[in-house]
């Protein structure tokens, strides 16, 4: 069993095998994600109870919260792939690290935009320099830095490894940024905004939220593989396996 897993893992490291296997997985991943998003949103937006304080406006959490989760999850995935690329010099891991950044940046932007749309009716302002908002904004800048570095370096192998290092530095920094901002604001003036921090959330609100979280995660996996396949073709366009692909002829 373990042997088979290791073999499978090593095969994923080879571009032609990765291309073939991911091609089979993508329709499933995207399909399952879409079905789950449909279930989660119908449940969350229509059937979940109205919040007694925030009315129906709270329903934006079914986009906002999963996007915020994924914005952090994608960064950790990128850093893990970057570390694998640096340690084992795996070409595929470098591809994965480079391709996770734009998707993560997209989720971060979605979290910020939906949060700001939510903040307008709730807090009366589009933007507050609150701890979570600030660290999410810095996360967006970190993603944009990774993308900028990746675009600036022409050699794809070097770009992949440079992105790996930057992602690792960022992953050490993210908790520091998060807690520095958070400690600071609690030290300084206390929470300025009422946060959505009540520990108990009613289960009929929670279940669709969790469904959405898993759905976004599966969607991320599918989108990530799609991007990785494109990047792989760009890097390996001159290789024999790529030219012999049925879609190339």
């Amino acid at each position: 069993m373990f042997r088979a897993l290791v073999n499978f893992y090593h095969r994923l490291g080879s571009p032609p095998h990765f291309y073939r296997i991911s091609g089979k997985w993508i329709p499933w991943l995207i399909g399952i994600a879409l079905v789950m998003i449909a279930i989660g949103w119908t449940w969350g937006l229509i059937f979940a109870p109205t919040d007694y304080e925030q009315g129906d406006a709270y329903r934006i959490i079914y986009i906002h919260v999963p996007a915020a989760w994924l914005s952090m999850f994608a960064y950790v995935c990128m850093a893990a792939a970057g570390a694998m690329g640096l340690i084992w010099r795996m070409k595929m891991a470098e591809v994965m690290a480079v391709t996770a950044a734009p998707i993560g940046a997209g989720f971060t932007f979605l979290a910020l935009a939906s949060g700001s749309i939510w903040g307008k009716p709730m807090w009366g302002t589009w933007w507050v320099w609150d701890a979570r908002l600030t660290s999410e904004l810095v996360l967006l800048f970190l993603y944009l830095g990774v993308i900028a570095l990746d675009n600036a370096i022409e050699d794809r192998r070097i770009a992949g490894r440079a992105v790996g290092i930057l992602a690792l530095v960022g992953v050490v920094n993210i908790p520091i940024i998060h807690y520095s901002v958070q400690w600071w604001y609690t030290l300084h003036q206390g929470p300025t905004v009422t946060k959505f921090s009540s520990p108990s959330i009613y289960w009929s609100m929670l279940v669709p939220l969790l469904i959405m979280g898993i759905a976004f995660m599966i969607f991320f996996a599918g989108a990530w593989l799609m991007r990785a396949r494109n990047e792989l073709l760009r890097r390996e366009a001159s290789k024999r396996w790529a030219r012999e692909l049925p879609e190339a002829s």
Partner: protein, 223 residues
């Protein structure tokens, strides 16, 4: 071990001494940026005192980002960086010495001159000391993190803007604690906790950043 640090430090300091104008220009840049702010504002004592520490800190950030590019640039272009990487001594120590040299000629002068800027912003004496103290702990972190960014971008022809994009988000924790500690001191609160945190950030940066910088340099050199 100690010798390689000492030799690199000596070499870089000597280079800085021979090239005094560049060092002076960085300091001048720092002072100018901070001094331009009051000119663009409706000068009012309370407002100046309120924004003073933040302005000084942001100027220090910009001065570091601009100057840190020279850390490896010339050595990369004339090939001496490659020789350092090939030498049997660990590259991490060479990096540490180079960053120390950079801080001695860029960060330390900022710390020394910061009371003067504090005067321009009408900061009282105690705030002045706190500002200098936070800069003393914070500017080495800026140099260390900047070195990682430079090491990643040194192979690029126009790395300056990319470097800024990479490094500024990483500077956020230092800026938050650096500038706000002074505000805290101005409010009369106890500032030992943020000082400890700045010290912890410095310890972490000294431990991890040179290794990351050395790894990044090796990647840039292979290209």
């Amino acid at each position: 071990m100690i010798e390689v640090i000492w030799a690199t430090l000596r070499r870089d300091l000597l280079l800085a001494v021979r090239n005094r104008t560049e060092v002076a220009n960085r300091l001048l840049f720092f002072v100018l940026v901070a001094a331009v702010f009051p000119l663009g504002l409706d000068v009012e004592k309370g407002l100046l005192q309120a924004i003073g520490p933040s302005v000084v800190w942001v100027s220090a950030l910009l001065a570091t980002v601009l100057s840190v590019d020279s850390l490896f640039r010339t050595d990369f272009e004339d090939g001496s960086l490659e020789q350092m990487a090939l030498s049997p001594q660990p590259l991490t120590l060479v990096v540490l010495a180079k960053v120390l040299a950079h801080w001695l000629v860029t960060g330390l002068p900022l710390v020394v001159i910061s009371p003067l800027l504090a005067l321009l912003f009408n900061l009282p004496g105690t705030d002045m000391a706190v500002l200098a103290g936070t800069l003393l702990l914070g500017t080495p972190v800026l140099s260390l993190l900047g070195a990682v960014g430079v090491a990643l971008t040194v192979g690029l022809r126009r790395g300056g803007v990319v470097l800024t994009l990479l490094v500024l988000p990483l500077y956020v924790p230092v800026l938050v604690f650096g500038a706000n500690t002074v505000h805290l001191a101005a409010a009369g609160a106890d500032t030992s906790a943020p000082f400890y945190i700045l010290g912890a950030m410095l310890a972490l940066a000294v431990t991890l950043a040179p290794a990351a910088t050395a790894a990044a340099l090796r990647i840039s050199l292979n290209g």
